[in-house]
Symmetry: C2
Subunit: 235 residues, 2 copies
């Protein structure tokens, strides 16, 4: 089965968490919106999709299934491609981790858009400075230390079980994104996060992930996605 | 099995979405933090919980399972208490809806806390006014119309399948909360949301929900939870 991924063509965004799972799984997929006529196909899907309309991208078509919400798509892919723990407790734990990553992502995004996602950054710059300072002081350390502790509790290498699962890929992407957006702050924060650094390095070195990151399929970071580098927001 | 729910004792908050599912299911549960020594027990659980530490409440202990993240807890309860659709497509759809409700809740909360959850409302009042105005103009209608459309696509009464499922309970709570927080704006918005109004009424009339809402177990709305009524933020 060839999956169809529908996500904005110009950004990594939330779609990137799905792309990483598809790539690590070696799954057959098309990134629909990046092809000819793809954005139109995506807009059509968002307005349609029968009985299960998506609120927003990413959306994954898997045969007859139309699945939206990043954590939901990853739960589905994780089970199918051995990127999730087996057993109920493990499945719930992986989903719990992914939802905590999702909460973190909202807070990361809102550092540059604290007032409204529909306004330009330039129209909420003062508020963004205020939010970012508190985010870097309070929230980022809280989330990052939590994930460091979760890896530690799980034996020191992965978040869930004895091998890589989809939340590991998502946490990798979160670290990469934070390093791009807040290089100065992350340099300080990461000093006390050895397991998170190791997890980043081990994911980056996986052959399929490595090949993907070096390919044209990997969209560079820019000022349209979740992770944006505005030097004035860094510590 | 008696469930143990761990959530802040003084607010509805995210715990309320779990409480409503437990109540509608007629499940045996203890709201731990509301009992003697309960807050201390909750703080102990948050710092511990073995291999699967929660990032934040709510947390549900179900026998040996320790489950956090509201949507994750509800997926678990939904399956066990026939409050979820049967079959993979239905399970994914219910989870997708719940995650979209979760996204909406973050935006609702951030109307009064756009800069930081760790600051008082009074310290971000100007930003809250700005964010609330845009929320009521753009985001609230977008989310509410989406759910109206989802009910319509599903036959007009429920969000998923032919009977009540856990996202219906959560959508009910969201409507109740929005009416409390933004009474003027909701009066206008709801004019064009007949299915959402009907869903609210049918959930409120269910015997177990009705008994719960009239009981002391239902904590009144206040200025500590997700839904807060500040007249200056209403339309």
């Amino acid at each position: 089965m060839r999956y169809e991924l529908y996500y904005w063509a110009e950004i990594q965004g939330r779609g990137e968490f799905v792309r990483l799972a598809l790539e690590e799984a070696g799954a057959d997929y098309i990134d629909v919106a990046r092809g000819r006529g793809g954005e139109a196909a995506m807009m059509k899907l968002l307005g349609g999709a029968g009985a299960h309309p998506p609120f927003a991208p990413p959306v994954l078509k898997a045969g007859p299934l139309v699945i939206a919400q990043t954590a939901n798509i990853l739960m589905y892919l994780g089970r199918r491609h051995r990127l999730a723990p087996a057993g109920e407790a493990g499945i719930l734990w992986a989903n719990q981790l992914q939802l905590t990553i999702a909460d973190f992502l909202v807070e990361i995004h809102d550092t540059h858009h604290p007032i409204a996602s529909g306004l330009y950054y330039e129209d909420q710059r003062a508020e963004a400075r205020r939010r970012s300072a508190l985010f870097l002081k309070q929230r980022a350390p809280k989330f990052l230390k939590y994930f460091e502790r979760a890896i530690e509790r799980n034996g020191g290498r992965f978040l869930a079980g004895a091998k890589l699962t989809y939340p590991d890929l998502s946490l990798f992407q979160t670290v990469v994104g934070l390093r791009y957006a807040f290089p100065r702050a992350m340099k300080t924060l990461e000093k006390n996060l050895p397991r998170l650094r190791d997890l980043h390095d081990s994911v980056a070195a996986r052959p399929r992930v490595k090949a993907y990151l070096a390919s044209k399929r990997r969209i560079p970071f820019n000022r349209y996605g979740i992770f944006r580098h505005y030097p004035e927001l860094d510590s």
